[in-house]
Symmetry: D2
C-alpha cells in the first residue's frame, strides 16, 4: 500500500476519458491539493478556469468496467485561511414570483480556522455577528469517467458521480462508483469547508484543501448509482432532475443493494425502508440534483 | 386552561368549513382518540370510511383569519396493539420501468407494544426476524380549515396543513397553521406508530391513538405555510408537487420567518440557510408532497 | 329539450357541493352570462370577488356518481367590448434566474369586436401596432362538483375539471366530466376571448360572455379525467403538477378510452398513440397544470 | 456551393469534439446515408452499436464559438423498406401504479413505402388493420459539439441539440444551433419515418435514410438553445428534465429572440406570446425532454 502525492499542473472541467495524471495500484492512497470551485489555489492564484477544476484523473490498475471503485476519504485539511460563498439563495429554491425580490448574487468571503475548526464570515452581517460554524469538510465533486466516450461537465453529476455537492462526503466516509472505463479514471476537487443541505446558495464555503483518499477496486460489483457508507449508515446517491427522479434513482439503488447484498426480498426491503429510511438532499442547485437514500446500519440484517 | 375530552361519533374526510364538534377557549387542551387511516378504531371496528377520517373540527374562541393556530402535541398513546402498513414501495418512488417488477401492494400487520415502546412485524419476513423498531408516534394528518369555502381531502395537504405525513410531528413538537376561517376549525387523525422519511410504502404503521394537544391562538401572525418547532430546531413545511415546489414553499416560508421574526436581511438569511439548513422529506406519496426546511436553534440570532 | 336561462345573483369561487342555482332535465340547454375572472360583469360592475366566480351549479336530473356529464358548448358571445390580460410572462415559465429581469405584472386592456371577430390591444405597444387577433372564445373554468365533500378553488383544476384554461374548449367542442355527486352540479365561468397555449401570462383575454351549453348524462360511463372531442379529434385532459404528471394522467385516460371504447389492446393503443398522438399544453400557470392528449378521429378504429 | 457526399465508415455515440469526417465550406450541402437508432444500415447490417450512431462530424470552415450553425433540411429519403418501433408506451408516460399493467416492451416492424409515401405495421394488430400512416420523415438526433470538452450521449440532448426527437425537424425546416467549438462539428442520424408527439413509445419508426442538408454559418448570433423555422412559424427548443424546465428554456429563448431580433420589449413579447404561443412536445422519453415554443410568422413584427 503506497501513498502517492499528486501535484497537478493542469486540471479538468469534465469527467471523461482523458490521459491519466497518475497511475496507482489497487488499494494505494493519494494525497493531493485541490484548488477551489473557481480555480483559485491555496495562494490565491487563479490556476485554471471554473467550473470546479478537477485533479486527476487517477488510473487504478486492475479496475475494469463492471467493477466498482471504492474511495475512502481519509483526511481533508484546508490549505487556505479563506473561502467564499454566493451571498443569496439561488432562484430555483424560492417561489418563482419571489425571485423578483432577491438581492444581487454577490460573493461573500469567509475565514477558515483549521486549528480551531471553525468557519465564519469575514465581514459579519447584522444578526449573524456571533455565527461561528464548525469546519465540516466535504468533497463537492468527485467520481469516475463515464462510459461510451461521454464527458460530463464538473458542474453536474450522473451515475459516475461528479458534482453531487453532498455534505455527507467528508472524512471518514466511503464512496463506491460504478466503473465504466479501464482504470476507472478517478477525479476529485471542489472542496467545501462547510455546506448546508441542498447547496441552496449555489456554493458551500469554497476553498482549497489537501485531501487524502484511498482507492480500491471491488471486482464485479454491479451498481448503477454511487453508493456510500459512514460509521453509522449505508447510503445510495441519485443524481438527476427533477428532485423526485433523483429520489427514485437513489431508492431503486438502495432496493437493489438490500436485495442483492443483504438477501432481502422486495417486500422485506420495502418494510425496512418504509419505516426507517432517511433522505438527505445533496444539492438542489446543480443541473442534476442529488438525493441520498440512507439506512442506519443498526437496522440492517447481518450479511 | 381546561382539558376537554372529544369523543367523536362522526368523522370527516375533508378539512373544510363544517360544524364544530367542540368549542374551546384559547389555550385549552383536548384529549381525543383517533381511528386509523382506514377508519378502524381501537377495538378493530370500522367506524368511518377512509381516507384518514378526522376528529373534529375544534372551534377555538378568538381565532380569526390572519392569526395562527399553535398546536402543542403533548402526548400520543397507542390504544391498540396492532397497526398496518402497505408491504411494497409505492410506484412513484422507484425508477418507472422498475415498477413492472414490484410485488402486489398487500398489507402487513405490525405489533405495537406501548409499554416496551416497540413496533414489530406480526409475521417476520426472512432477513427481518430481529427487527424491533422504536415506537415513534406522529400525527399524519392535522391542520385547519382552508379559506374561500374550500374543502380538501384528508389524502392531501396544502397551506392549511392536512396529510403531511411528516415524522417530525410527534410528542414534544409544536406546529403553527395559518388560520383562514373564524375559530380556526382544527382537525386531526391518521396517527402512525412509526414512519420513515417520505412515507414511501404509502403508510406509516397505521393505528389508533389517544392524543393530547393544546391549541392556542397567536394573534396577527402572518404566515403562508405551516411552521413548527421542537426542542432543537425551528422548521417550515411546504406541501405541493413536485418535490422541488414543496421545497420552494418551505424555503420561502423560512426566509420570511428569519426576516420577519429574527431581523435578518435576505443576505443574512441566505448565509445562514446556505451553510446550516437541513431538509426533511415529509412524504413523497400523497397528492401533495411535503418538504420540511429546518434550522437548528443554536444557529438563530436572539429574538 | 328545453332551453333555460340562468341569471345568477350569486357566484361561487369553488366547485363543490352547494345548493343548485338551476335544475334541468337531461339534455336541456342553458343560456347564461358569465362575469370575468376578476368578477366584473358586462357593464363593468364588480359583482363578486375573484378568482373566477362561477355561474351555477346546475343540477341535472338523473345524473348519478358513475355517470359522465356531457357538455356541448354551443355558442359563446362576448357581451362586453373589452377584456384584460396580465402584461408579463408568469415567473414559472422562464428560467428562474431570469425572473429578476421581468417587468412588473401590470394589467393591459384589450378591445373585443364581436362583429368583426377580432381582439386587439387598447393601447398598442411598439412593434405590435398592427396586431389584430381573431376572436377565439373559450371557457377557462368549468366542470362538476368533486366527490367526498371536497370543494376546490376555481383557481385550480382536478379530475372534475375546473380551471383548465385550455383553448380547445370553445364553441363546437364537447366535454365529458366524471360525475361524483347526484345531479352532477355543473359550474362554468372565466371565459376568454382568446388565449395562447399554456396561459403563460396568467390570463387569456378575460371578459364576460353569454354562453349556451347543453348538458346530457351518459349513464355508467367510467372515466377518471375529463374527456372531450371536436370535429376532428378526441382528447383527454390531465390536471396536475408537474406537467409530466398531467401528461401521465391524460395519456392513461386516453389509453383507457382506446381500450375500453375502441376495442384496442394495450399494444394496439400504444402503436396508435406512439405515431399519431398530439399533446396540447392547456395551462402551465394555475396550481394544477393542464395537458391534453389528442388523437385525430381519422386514425381511430370504427366503434 | 458544393454538394458533398459523406459515406461514413465509423459512427459516434456522442456529440463531442472528435476528428471531423468531412470538412466543408460555409453554405455547402452534404448528402449522407444514416443508419437507424440501433445501428442497422439500409441492408439490414449492424454497422455500429446504439444508441443512435451519428454520421459526422462535419467541420464547417469559418464556424467559431459565438456563431450559430444554420441547418437546412433539404431532403430525407428512406433507403430501406422497413422500420421498427417499441410496441408499448414508455413507463414514464402513464400513471406510475399503472406501469404494473403494461405488456412487455417488445419491438414491432413497419413497412415503409417511399413511393406511396406510407408507413404501416408489418403485422397489423386487431383494430388497426386499416391503419396507413403518412411518411413524415424527421431527424431524431442532430446538433453540434458542446463546449468545455464535454461529450454527450446521443441518447440525450442539451443546448447543442442532440436527441431532441422532435417531429418538426423534417424536410423544409431549418434549425440553428449555438456553436461552441471551431468548425461547429455537426452530427446527424437517428431518422424516423414518422413519430407522434413525445416519442411516447420510446421510438418513432426507426429506419435508415438518405439525408441532404445545407450548413451555413451565421456570424455572431448569440443564442443559448436551438432555434428553428418552417414555412409558417419560428420556434425555439428547450431540452431538459422536468418538462417544465424544458418549457422554461424554450420560452426564455423565444423571449430573447423576440426582444433581440424583432425589437419587442419584454411586455410586447409577453402580449404576443400570451395570446398566440403554441407548444409542441418533442419528446418525453429521453433523459432530457424536449419542449418547443412556437410562434406563427403571421403574428411577428417586420424585422
Amino acid at each position: 500500500m503506497t501513498t502517492h502525492r499528486l501535484v497537478p499542473t493542469a486540471w479538468h472541467n469534465v469527467l471523461g476519458t482523458v490521459p491519466p495524471a497518475l497511475t496507482i495500484a489497487d488499494g494505494d492512497s493519494v494525497v493531493t491539493e485541490t484548488i477551489d470551485a473557481g480555480g483559485v489555489d491555496k495562494d490565491g492564484v487563479q490556476r485554471w478556469p471554473g467550473p470546479n477544476p478537477m485533479n486527476g484523473p487517477i488510473f487504478v490498475d486492475g479496475a475494469e468496467p463492471g467493477d466498482a471503485l471504492q474511495v475512502d476519504i481519509i483526511r481533508m485539511t484546508p490549505v487556505r485561511e479563506n473561502g467564499w460563498t454566493r451571498a443569496v439563495l439561488a432562484a430555483n429554491v424560492v417561489d418563482p414570483e419571489r425571485v423578483r425580490d432577491l438581492p444581487p448574487r454577490d460573493r461573500a468571503d469567509w475565514i477558515i480556522d483549521a486549528d480551531a475548526g471553525t468557519v465564519r464570515l469575514e465581514r459579519p452581517v447584522p444578526g449573524l455577528e456571533h455565527l461561528v460554524l464548525p469546519l465540516e469538510p466535504m468533497i463537492g465533486c468527485f467520481g469516475v469517467a463515464p462510459g461510451l466516450s461521454q464527458a460530463f461537465s464538473t458542474a453536474t453529476s450522473a451515475e459516475n458521480g461528479g458534482n453531487m455537492d453532498y455534505r455527507g462526503f467528508g472524512p471518514g466516509s466511503r464512496a463506491w462508483f460504478p466503473i465504466a472505463v479501464p482504470g476507472a479514471l478517478f477525479f476529485l476537487g471542489d472542496c467545501h469547508a462547510i455546506q448546508g443541505d441542498g447547496e441552496i446558495v449555489g456554493t458551500g464555503v469554497e476553498t482549497a484543501m489537501e485531501v487524502e483518499i484511498r482507492l480500491s477496486v471491488v471486482k464485479n460489483r454491479r451498481q448503477v448509482w454511487p453508493r456510500g457508507e459512514n460509521a453509522d449508515a449505508i447510503f445510495t446517491v441519485g443524481n438527476a432532475r427533477p428532485l423526485e427522479q433523483a429520489l427514485q434513482h437513489a431508492t431503486t439503488e438502495m432496493l437493489d443493494w438490500l436485495m442483492g447484498d443483504y438477501g432481502l426480498s422486495a417486500v422485506a426491503a420495502s418494510h425496512l425502508l418504509g419505516q426507517v429510511v432517511r433522505y438527505d438532499v445533496g444539492n438542489v442547485f446543480d443541473p442534476a440534483y442529488t438525493m441520498v437514500c440512507k439506512v442506519e446500519k443498526k437496522w440492517l440484517p447481518k450479511r
